[in-house]
Symmetry: C2
Subunit: 328 residues, 2 copies
């Protein structure tokens, strides 16, 4: 089986690559070829059996999408995107990559299929940013998509295209709306959502972290490991129960910042929790107030998608996957 990952150099892309190489199979079939594509060439992992190729490619550039699928991969993970903040700051770039790039990929697959029958599985990562406030207490599977960012708009459009191309039989698509990924590894970043990870990751490493919002703030989380699990599960899922509704809100954990900190205290002690410095930032608090707090993702749960059920578990996943199983 030939697997293509577009956006393989990103955080989730790298973790997905590691998982596929470790498993050696996907949905019970051996992975014989693994193509890794991103705007910068992804690192090639040491794979035992799969032939690995890495390519630097801007999906929205002329001919790039056609090149990306030239090897007729059986499964395509499409993770590539301009992130929310950048898509908001640069209107044209966001639409070019997140809409035109995705459409170019879908069109390339359609044209390849017209040349010679071809209908790969396409796993597309969407986002809870397709939803916009005001929200119900828990957002159900049939709630409408009224995004409040250009990024969310582009993802919602991609979801519609994914469904129509799948309905037409051009490919077999499935979209998964990821929760906010927590704990994000790496250095603290300036994303407005960064603090959700910072307040755990930094104290776990013995460093101070800044909390810009109140402890009552509630949000929707899943670990990087869970996100990779969603992707792998989606790649092998029987899509017939999805009907025409091809995108699923992934399960996650709805938790307050206070619950995050309590879990940190349980797992790593008071010394870790004491490293969180309160520095209220009304701008960040205002942005976060417009974000979803909770979902009722029963459709995905019924289809076997699984996330963590406590923040203790999310913290332990981080310690295992990022800190070699030991606290600093």
């Amino acid at each position: 089986m030939h697997v293509l990952i577009i956006g393989a150099a990103g955080m989730i892309g790298r973790k997905l690559t590691q998982r596929l190489v470790a498993d050696g199979t996907l949905g019970g079939r051996e992975i014989t070829a693994l193509s890794l594509v991103d705007v910068v060439a992804p690192e090639a992992p040491a794979a035992r059996r799969a032939r690995v190729t890495t390519t630097a490619l801007d999906l929205a550039a002329e001919g790039a999408a056609v090149r990306s699928i030239a090897g007729r991969p059986d499964v395509i993970f499409h993770l590539a995107a301009i992130v929310s903040g950048e898509a908001e700051a640069d209107f044209e770039k966001g639409y070019r990559i997140n809409l035109d790039g995705t459409r170019a990929l879908f069109e390339a697959i359609r044209h390849e299929g017209a040349r010679q029958p071809y209908a790969p599985r396409v796993v597309f990562t969407s986002s809870i940013a397709v939803f916009g406030a005001p929200f119900p207490e828990a957002i159900g599977d049939e709630f409408f998509t009224t995004p409040l960012t250009s990024y969310g708009t582009q993802k919602a459009i991609d979801e519609l295209l994914l469904a129509d191309y799948s309905r037409r039989g051009f490919f077999d698509g499935i979209g998964i709306r990821l929760p906010t990924i927590c704990i994000r590894p790496g250095a603290p970043n300036k994303a407005a959502s960064g603090f959700f990870s910072n307040i755990l990751r930094e104290p776990l490493a013995g460093r101070e972290a800044v909390l810009p919002v109140g402890e009552e703030v509630r949000h929707w989380h899943a670990s990087p490991r869970a996100a990779v699990g969603f992707l792998v599960h989606a790649a092998a899922l029987d899509t017939s129960p999805l009907g025409a509704r091809r995108t699923l809100t992934m399960p996650g954990l709805s938790a307050t910042v206070g619950e995050q900190i309590a879990a940190l205290r349980r797992v790593a002690g008071e010394r870790a929790a004491a490293l969180i410095r309160r520095a209220p930032d009304p701008v960040i608090a205002g942005i976060v107030a417009g974000w979803p707090r909770n979902f009722d993702a029963r459709r995905a749960a019924a289809l076997g998608f699984r996330a963590e059920s406590s923040f203790d578990e999310i913290i332990r996943v981080h310690i295992e996957d990022e800190l070699g199983g030991r606290l600093a």
Copy 2:
């Protein structure tokens, strides 16, 4: 005030033109210029004061969208679209006109505004085809859009673009999802929905009509006059209560075919009703089974949009507007 109608040669476009010329004003302001655009040149009405121009233009053609708004209209009605059946039969044409054409218009407005401040009112006609079965008993204002046709997909994407461009301040957009228009004037057409109009229009003119489905079939209707009323109301509406949710399901009348026929009998007598010939067509019945039957369009109603409340009224509107007030 300068008004532009894109899609002015279509049935709704012609009726909107007539209404604007008869009114001479829109939202209390005098219409000084009326630009009529369609893929074939629209007929120029005899206007008392407004300067009328007509242009044949394919909105998706290079430079056409820019040309269409060169006069910097204050209000733009964008009604142009490839209809459902054709967009399904010709995938590329549907996307080219219904998505790329609309996006080109939106982009032309954005670029014009970057050159010199400009943010016109844009009234966009969407469709209940953005919804896909299975449906709740009555589809509410927050039900999700999972279209089952490429046409519905394209309209849903346009709605998302309309909201994002409005949120960004590039224009002041409002989308209205029209019910099925009944009674459509003109000759019977081959659209799967044609019979809803045929079974009234033809008997009212003393001609036979074919009914391919059972009398229990329920659907969602508004007259052409109501549709024009929606457009005019949308053009002058204060959009601030819309927030980021820029598209509204229009009010309509949920009625069964049996209720349509009963109204025909009341208004035009048994002789008219007897002209309906039952010829069950499983293909058409199957298509229609996937269509919405009823909506709870309370948001639009609260904003002052009004449709007919009985089929007797819809039939009388047809007699007044199409038959000179008299039955055959």
